[in-house]
Every structure is written in structure tokens, then in C-alpha cells.
């Protein structure tokens, strides 16, 4: 049964990851809408494999359409893509190995610091300050933080509009602006760029994968920091890295948080992303004994390796197939489908929230600012919670 779950998860995740800006949180709401928890009530390895494979294959829309999800948008910060996916694959693979090895460290850190509220408050405050001071145009960066933070406070802290604000706001802030920009961006994508094999060395690959996993372990302790935000630390050093190493460290971060979040949910019953939160609420993630944790680690390694292998082998064909699909039509379908799904899950008034958050989320694109500033939507309500 476990192998059926794993392969079904890999199969579905492989195709769902190819949809531009289709985040696993939206998928979780789709699961609720179609009552999938009646079919898969406690099949944790199905959901786990699906999340892993979706994360890996979501590189395709990122590289082809330049449409990122909230998790992998840091990958495109200042990056000029080539179509060589080797650094990403190595980041995923070694990141998965290091995240397994660092799991005891995460366990220790979580026990020590998760209830240390002043520490969490200071970290969040430091991140916001860092984001402002790093920006050349600080008043504008502060303004974006203010707008996104205010939206977070009135929707998340006080539930000013209605009870399910997270999904429309996250979609409007992060996914929709990128999709719209990509829709109106007439420069034909990377279809004509030749794949260039990047030079990879063993030692730096290991070092940067290790750093990615280490940062994930640290960041996952703090509430409101999503996998996208977990890339704040590596991106602070981005000037010093080569682009290849940047890709390795970021993809390592991206894959490590999945294991950490599932482990955290099973052992501590805490969640950091909507997907895991919904699985916990539906009882799909059960408490783990030590053998269960060991099994989770082996499943993680197996799914990452097999997904990377399939992805690596099929990538040239995927490029050819996807480049035949009309980009504009695909993006319009994704936008319409996502908005309809959000309305179905929440209500018709979500359109107002989507438009409001979209207007804020579009600011960093218009003024060419770091999109991580928008994470103040989650960070500021969390800071206020800890004050």
C-alpha cells in the first residue's frame, strides 16, 4: 500500500507541478473541495510524495514562463536562467540527504526555541529591518511592507473581511501578479536559449547543499516564515555566490523544508504551511514513533531521487511539449481556474480581497523590488501576536 501511495503521489505531483503558479496550498483546498480525504484519509505518504514531486517539477514553469510560486520565487531573484537543471537537481538531492542528517538538530532547536517568544519576535523584526535596509529605495520598501502588513493585520489578526482570508490574499499577493506580468510580457521565453552545461564541483555542491538544509532547519522554527522566506538567509549572501551555487543552495532549502514541515507536523503537531495544516486538521498526518520517522526519511530520499531522475531524463521532452502549448492561453486558464477555486472554497467576496492584494503584490514588480517584502503580510501579524 505504501508503494502505491508513493507512486501515485509522484505521478500526480509530476503533472501538477507543471502548472504555472499552482501552489500546494491551493492544491490542499482543491482536495477539500473534491473530498479527497474520504479516499485517502490517512495516506500520509501519498501527500508527502505529491508535495516533493510538485516542488521539483515546479521548476519547469519557473524556467519556461518565469512564473514562480510563493516558495520558489527567490530562485528567480537576479537570476539569468539557462536551461541546465543540473544545479537544481544536485541541490534537491544533496539537500534531501543533509536535511535527513540534520533532522536531530532541528528536533533539538525546535524544543529549545519554539516557545522562546522574544527570540522569535527579534528574528522576525530583524528580517524585516534587513529587507528594508538592503533595498536601495528604503522609503518605497517600507511602503510595500506597510501596505502588505496592514492587509495582514486587518485580514489575519482581526478577520476584518471574512473568515478565510489567507488563500485569496496569498494568491493575490504572490501568484497573480507574476502570472499577469508573465501574460503581458511579450518577450518570448527561453525557448531559443540553448542549454548550457554548467561547471559543477563536488565540494562547493556539498557545502551549499548543506547550508541550504541548515538554514531550513533554523527558519522552520519560526512561525510565518514560508519556504520562500527560508531563502532569505542564502539570498543575503547572493552577491558572494556564483549563480550555480545560488541555485544549489536555494533548491536545497526548498526540498529540505518539506521533510522538516512533515516531521514537525507528525512529532510536534505544528504546521507552517497551509498544505500541512489542512492535512493535520483532516487527521491525515498521525503521530510518529521512531520507526515511522526512519521510514519517512527513507521515503523522502527515495521520492526525491526517483522524481529527480524522471525529471532529469524527461526534461528535454518536457521542454519540447510545453513550448508547443500556447503560453497566453495556459496562463489565462490558470488564472481563471485559481480564482474560481478560491471562490468555491471561500465565497464570492474573495474577488475583492484578490484585487486588493493583487494591487499590493504588483508594486514590487512595477518598481522592481524584492518580492520578499510582501512576506510582511504574514510577518507583521505574527510580530503583533508576540508583542
Amino acid at each position: 500500500m505504501i508503494f502505491f501511495d508513493i507512486f501515485l503521489g509522484i505521478f500526480l505531483g509530476f503533472f501538477l507541478g507543471l502548472i504555472p503558479s499552482f501552489h500546494i496550498n491551493i492544491l490542499a483546498y482543491l482536495f477539500i473541495a473534491v473530498n479527497i480525504f474520504l479516499l485517502f484519509p490517512d495516506n500520509i505518504y501519498f501527500f508527502f510524495s505529491l508535495a516533493i514531486t510538485m516542488t521539483i517539477t515546479s521548476l519547469v514553469p519557473l524556467l519556461l514562463f518565469n512564473t514562480a510560486t510563493v516558495d520558489n520565487f527567490s530562485l528567480i531573484l537576479g537570476q539569468n536562467h539557462t536551461k541546465d537543471i543540473t544545479p537544481y537537481i544536485l541541490g534537491f538531492l544533496f539537500g534531501s540527504i543533509f536535511s535527513i542528517l540534520l533532522l536531530p538538530l532541528f528536533y533539538l532547536l525546535f524544543i529549545l526555541f519554539s516557545d522562546f517568544y522574544i527570540f522569535i519576535f527579534l528574528i522576525l523584526f530583524a528580517i524585516l529591518t534587513f529587507l528594508v535596509f538592503r533595498d536601495a529605495d528604503r522609503p518605497l520598501a517600507l511602503l510595500i511592507i506597510f501596505f502588505a502588513g496592514t492587509l495582514g493585520v486587518i485580514t489575519l489578526k482581526y478577520n476584518f473581511f471574512f473568515s478565510e482570508p489567507l488563500l485569496p490574499c496569498i494568491f493575490g499577493l504572490f501568484a497573480l501578479p507574476v502570472l499577469v506580468e508573465s501574460l503581458f510580457n511579450k518577450t518570448e521565453s527561453k525557448g531559443d536559449i540553448k542549454s548550457v552545461q554548467e561547471m559543477m564541483c563536488f565540494k562547493p555542491t556539498l557545502i551549499y547543499s548543506f547550508l541550504g538544509s541548515l538554514f531550513s532547519s533554523i527558519i522552520a522554527i519560526i512561525p510565518s516564515l514560508s519556504p520562500g522566506m527560508a531563502q532569505v538567509i542564502p539570498s543575503t549572501f547572493s552577491q558572494e555566490y556564483s549563480k550555480t551555487n545560488h541555485k544549489i543552495i536555494l533548491s536545497s532549502t526548498l526540498i529540505s523544508v518539506i521533510l522538516i514541515y512533515f516531521f514537525m507536523a507528525a512529532v510536534f503537531k505544528k504546521s507552517r504551511i497551509g498544505y500541512v495544516s489542512i492535512l493535520l486538521e483532516k487527521g491525515a498526518i498521525f503521530a510518529f514513533s521512531f520507526p515511522d520517522t526512519l521510514l519517512l526519511c527513507f521515503v523522502f530520499l527515495f521520492v526525491v531521487s526517483i522524481s529527480c531522475l524522471f525529471f532529469y531524463l524527461s526534461f528535454p521532452e518536457l521542454l519540447v511539449i510545453i513550448s508547443r502549448i500556447p503560453k497566453t492561453l495556459t496562463l489565462i486558464c490558470v488564472i481563471v481556474f485559481s480564482i474560481l477555486l478560491i471562490i468555491l472554497v471561500t465565497n464570492l467576496f474573495s474577488i475583492f480581497l484578490i484585487l486588493l492584494s493583487f494591487s499590493i503584490g504588483y508594486l514590487p514588480i512595477v518598481y522592481n523590488k524584492n518580492k520578499l517584502l510582501l512576506m510582511s503580510y504574514l510577518i507583521i501579524p505574527t510580530i503583533l501576536f508576540f508583542i
Binding site: 521510514l295 527515495f302 531521487s305
Partner: protein, 129 residues
């Protein structure tokens, strides 16, 4: 450095992961025991699968306490941070006296035998949780 080796590395790690999964399933499968066997003196502390009926449920500080009973004896159980879905199923099991299975760690808490429940199997209610 990596070039065409990447395929070999991926195949090797896939095989290693697969081997790990098979070994985990083969060697760490919990054995099924009777409650009566656990309440006997000097029962071994480890993870078991136990069947029984739920009685005396109580939630305190987001922790669910209940007793799991078979025809001969009962044992105290504890389940941490139950979700609303689990609570609902447990109440149903208690009210309709359904037989359920749990995967739990048996241990002595201040000398009293106790089960720390990891997972419920609600077969009679059309699902697991």
C-alpha cells in the same frame, strides 16, 4: 565533475531509499497484542498495535485521555493534540461501541501501564485516521 554521473548518483540513492523502506517495513512492523497481555507484570515497553473499545474519554489541555478495553481488562491511553476530526470519530466509536485499533507505545507512567497513541484505525467507520 558531475556530467553523466548524475544519473548513476540518482539511481544509487533511489535504490538506497527503496532498500531502507523495505527494511523499515520488514523489521519495524509493530506486533499485535491483547490488552490483557500488556497489563500483566513486566510487559515490554515498545510500540504495539492493540484492538479494543473506547471508554471514558476526556480532553484536558488539548490532550485526549481515554481507556481502551477488551473483554477482560482496560488500559489508560493518551493522545496528544487531537484534531476535531479525530475527536468526532472517537466519540462515534465510543457511542456505538465500535471496535477500533490503535498503534501506540506501551510504557509505565509512574508505575502504571499506559499507551501513548500514535495512530487510530477506524475501520468500522469507513476510514483510518
Amino acid at each position: 565533475m558531475f556530467g553523466c554521473d548524475i544519473k548513476k548518483i540518482l539511481i544509487f540513492t533511489s535504490a538506497f531509499g527503496l532498500l531502507g523502506i523495505i527494511l523499515c517495513i520488514a523489521f519495524f512492523e509493530s506486533s499485535e497484542v491483547l490488552i490483557s497481555a500488556l497489563v500483566m507484570p513486566n510487559a515490554k515497553e515498545r510500540v504495539y498495535i492493540i484492538s479494543g473499545n473506547i471508554k471514558n474519554t476526556e480532553i484536558k489541555s488539548n490532550t485526549l485521555f481515554f481507556s481502551l478495553c477488551d473483554s477482560f481488562s482496560c488500559i489508560d491511553c493518551v493522545y496528544f493534540n487531537p484534531s476535531s476530526g479525530i475527536n468526532e470519530k472517537i466519540e462515534n466509536s465510543k457511542n456505538y461501541n465500535h471496535l477500533i485499533k490503535v498503534k501506540a507505545r506501551f510504557e509505565y507512567y509512574y508505575g502504571r501501564p499506559e499507551l501513548v497513541v500514535y495512530k487510530f484505525y477506524f475501520k468500522d467507520q469507513g476510514g483510518f485516521s
